[in-house]
Symmetry: C2
Subunit: 118 residues, 2 copies
């Protein structure tokens, strides 16, 4: 990495702070994973799916019905949610039931809502 950038005259005295900040910065990979996680929450369809699953576990078909969307669209998004370990699933008869994997999800969404609600 190159940390020698165009630095304004007023700020180039701050070398110490820069160094400390860089030292505290989590590893690139963690930051990448973190951004990826937030990206998953950053879509209305996926947010809706999660909200629905707050209320009740549900098969793909019901999710599609509940959100008035295509089965395919829902299925594609469930895949993303599952990859991020935000939801899990199990087979039940002919259907596959999806459910929240984790209670982090609720906390994160609640926290977000709090910010938005202001």
């Amino acid at each position: 990495m190159e940390f020698e950038a165009e630095v304004c005259s007023e700020c180039e005295t701050h070398a110490e702070v820069l160094q400390k900040v860089q030292a505290e910065l989590p590893p690139e990979e963690s930051l990448y994973d973190l951004a990826d996680l937030f990206k998953v929450f950053g879509d209305t369809t996926r947010i809706k799916i999660l909200y629905v699953l707050f209320e009740s576990e549900m098969c793909v078909c019901d999710l599609a019905a509940a959100l008035g969307m295509t089965q395919s669209a829902i299925s594609h998004q469930l895949r993303v949610l599952k990859q991020s370990k935000l939801v899990g699933n199990r087979r039940e008869g002919k259907s596959i039931i999806y459910f929240l994997a984790d209670d982090h999800v609720r906390v994160m969404i609640d926290q977000g809502m709090e910010h938005v609600a202001e």
Copy 2:
């Protein structure tokens, strides 16, 4: 909205659940805002900026230096962060100092990191 979708035979008995779920679903606009908020966190550059600002408030130029990125790129992202009220700024001499607006930010990022760390 249309809630009459192709419903699987096994699930069409679940009309009650669907209705309850739809009733509990927050208004479209809130969901949209929420997704938008998470979208802001869903980018490595912006996450990095936030992490840096955890340590210390800082001028644009120092942020660019700390992250080894263009002033322009940083400025564009700061705009996004400010629109979402995640950061604030003030003028100080020639520089403009950016800082975290809120403590939600820390909580949200920590929560995300916890999930990712598993």
